[in-house]
Amino acid sequence: MRKLALSDDILMTVEKPARYIGNEVNSVMKNSKEVDIRFAFAFPEQYEIGMSHLGIKILYDMFNRREDVWCERVFSPWVDLHKIMKEQNLALFALESQDPIRDFDFIGITIQFEMCYTNILQILDLGQVPLHATDRSIEDPFVIGGGPCTYNPEPLADFFDIFYIGEGETVYDELFDKYKIWKKSGKSRREFLEIAAGIEGLYVPQFYDVSYHEDGTIADFRPNNEHAQPTIKKQVVMDVTHAVYPEKPVVPFIKAVQDRVVLEIQRGCIRGCRFCQAGMIYRPTRERNVEKLKEYARNMIRNTGYEEISLSSLSSSDYSQLEELVNFLIDEFQDQSVNISLPSLRIDSFSLDVMSKVQDVRKSSVTFAPEAGSQRMRDVINKGLTEEDIIGGAGKAFDGGWTRVKLYFMLGLPTETEEDMKEIARLSDRVARRYYEIPKEERNGKCQIVASSSFFIPKPFTPLQWATMFTPEEYIRRAYIVKHEFLEQLNRKSLKYNWHEADVTMLEGAFARGDRRLCKTLEEAYRLGCLFDSWSDHYDHEKWMTAFENTGADLDFYTIRPRALDEKFPWDFIDIGVTKDFLKREWKNAMNAKVTANCREKCSGCGAGTFEGGVCIESKSKI
């Protein structure tokens, strides 16, 4: 039997010991002596969050299909265990073998959001691996980063040996094969990094030098090693139907945030909302074959025992075989009492019909993400959802018996005026009005419209990457304008408005568009005790501000400074297919509130056509 890394005493004192013992259904056990490569796959967040993530499941499955690789999982120890591990100098271990990750060949860290950056340092620190890539020796693992945040890896550049830019399914095999040869050769650590730098999509940050203008912007970014490429090409799997899919995902003992079978129906999004990073970096949209998905659904229910199945994609309604898939799921699973959940659906007759079959209308709500209150503002962000769509969809839902509507908005968008802000409240009220048009005898009491807003954060590789952020005071001022407007509304008693905090928005914004000089600030913040920053009760704004101060970094430079159209961005060396010219064009369209058609209506020549697949060839064949 496996020996657990933590003593009984520790496991009995920490909250949810099941986070640290592994042994879950479908977790993969191998003999460490019989593999060539030990890979620790880390998700720098709490177990329940990490275990909900599809990407880690895909790569875990894919790596473990190789006989010569044993991929194991690692998550951030929660604050209680963190403290104990620091005090007792315990080394962070992988869940399957319970062995220290410092003895592994690779530590792969998936980087899903900016507010987990201090947790990345925690993994390395508790892992007893030198924080800086350049301080690591031949004894240390190679630390490799992947995931959406690596589309601007610069604020993490010091801590990673390699970044894998793009979808994981493509060049890991090549990396592993070359690693095995290198390991036998007895060559230096640096030589392996040079080999890695020669593989498409892999970025070795220490092989690049950055110089800056006097105003702090980047003057030059270029390789200092002949093996390093000046641009790094994002990796994409063009044939998603035949790509690996985790049909036997690990089933946690404790309840994960996403505790269900997940079917990824497509990758990418045809819509082109100008604030959305996923909509740009995952271009072009590629659909999975519906027959394949049906097969996965059956197998995965049988292999996991889950009683819920959920579709995953950015905009499920755009999946061309949606009706067929959903009808199949209902027919196949409803009498086996498997719940079906359908996030990111456009609210129309079809989806309402489906929803009325799979959920209890009285208890559930319908969700819209208009993102902005006024049509003008929605045109700026290219959110192709009109007021008629919203009122019409909500009306159908009300007629069908629903009484609860959720609305998601953003505040602090470029060109936003007070009128635009107030429209958030007014639109919410118009939804409520539609409800009260139903004769009193026919409706179910009051309706409840819950509007939430987050503050807009410009992200790299989006048309709004040039946008300026605002000060926290200004964000709060805007939220109050909306709040007051809500109080003016006719149906205010049926309306509710919430907004997100502003402080953490600034930080997320700084790291999203930051450069490698922020590495120092991040390290200082971790040293001061920042951890689990995405948890509002753990986020310590003062410590963060001290970290900025101590390292001489200027938060405003990264957030509220206007950026010129020709500024060299830290992430410009990455080629995502979508061109900077297209993004500029789209930025100008945004400034003129001019909408751009989606990929199926009309190709806008964004550049992702270079991958020669997915929606790009589909739309061209139609023309």
Binding site: M1, R2, A18, V25, D360
Partner: protein, 234 residues
């Protein structure tokens, strides 16, 4: 058809709490293709009820839950199908039909449990075995029970049915269930006090052996295992 499942829980699984064990077996039913029955209503759930929860950190070779079946399946096949989908540290021991009436067989009938307790940390005084044989001769065995609101002294002696040394361990049989419930840790705490040991520096590994129902004869307690109330399905 009502069925009682007996299982063992050991190794790393001792850190999985009661609710998570329930969730684990719900999923296992589907993976093992057991024709379990569901409740009616908009969101049907499996008809499954668990016996007395086992504390975190305690291992057991006598855990139980009852389920309702849609159609018959043989005990032998069910045990095999379930064990094929178990993780290390969970093992199904038996799968037996029980009577339909709840009163006679349902989980409310749990009346006792027995445990083996072994020293994990700390040292016993030399005479601990003799002391163990006189432990139950005390008139009262008092222990301070802390609840969220208050502290009160209770006499736990009537809830200890047996207490003796077996090999190098303590064997005990205690009251368990919805009427009276005594945890093995509390008994060992009382024993430590009796031995004048430093409680802080002492810890025990507790292992549950079985759960019992009271098949009372003429007002005399007669404990029988929950398993024995069921019969094999051919």
């Amino acid at each position: 058809m009502k069925v009682r499942v007996k299982f063992k829980k050991y190794g790393a699984m001792r850190f999985i709490g009661h609710l998570d064990v329930m969730r684990y077996f719900q999923k296992a039913m589907i993976r093992a293709d057991i024709p379990i029955a569901f409740s009616e209503g908009f969101s049907p759930h499996q008809i499954m009820s668990f016996a007395n929860p086992l504390g975190i950190g305690v291992t057991s070779e006598g855990e139980y839950f009852d389920i309702e079946l849609q159609r018959e399946i043989s005990s032998k096949n069910a045990v095999k199908q379930l064990n094929d989908v178990m993780v290390e540290g969970m093992e199904v021991v038996s799968f037996r039909q029980i009577a339909e009436e709840k009163k006679k067989t349902g989980m409310a009938i749990v009346a006792g449990a027995d445990y083996l307790s072994s020293l994990k940390q700390g040292t016993f005084p030399k005479d601990w075995k003799e002391k163990a044989s006189t432990f139950m001769n005390q008139e009262q065995i008092l222990i301070v029970k802390k609840t969220k609101r208050s502290e009160k002294e209770v006499n736990i002696k009537p809830m200890i049915y047996k207490f003796e040394v077996r090999d190098e361990r303590i064997y005990m049989q205690v009251a368990t269930g919805s009427v009276e419930n005594l945890k093995p840790g509390l008994v060992m705490q009382a024993f430590c006090q009796y031995l004048h040991m430093d409680e802080e520096a002492t810890s025990f590994a507790n292992h549950r052996l079985d759960l019992y129902a009271n098949a009372e004869v003429d007002g005399n307690r007669e404990l029988v295992t929950l398993e024995s109330l069921g019969s094999e399905i051919e």
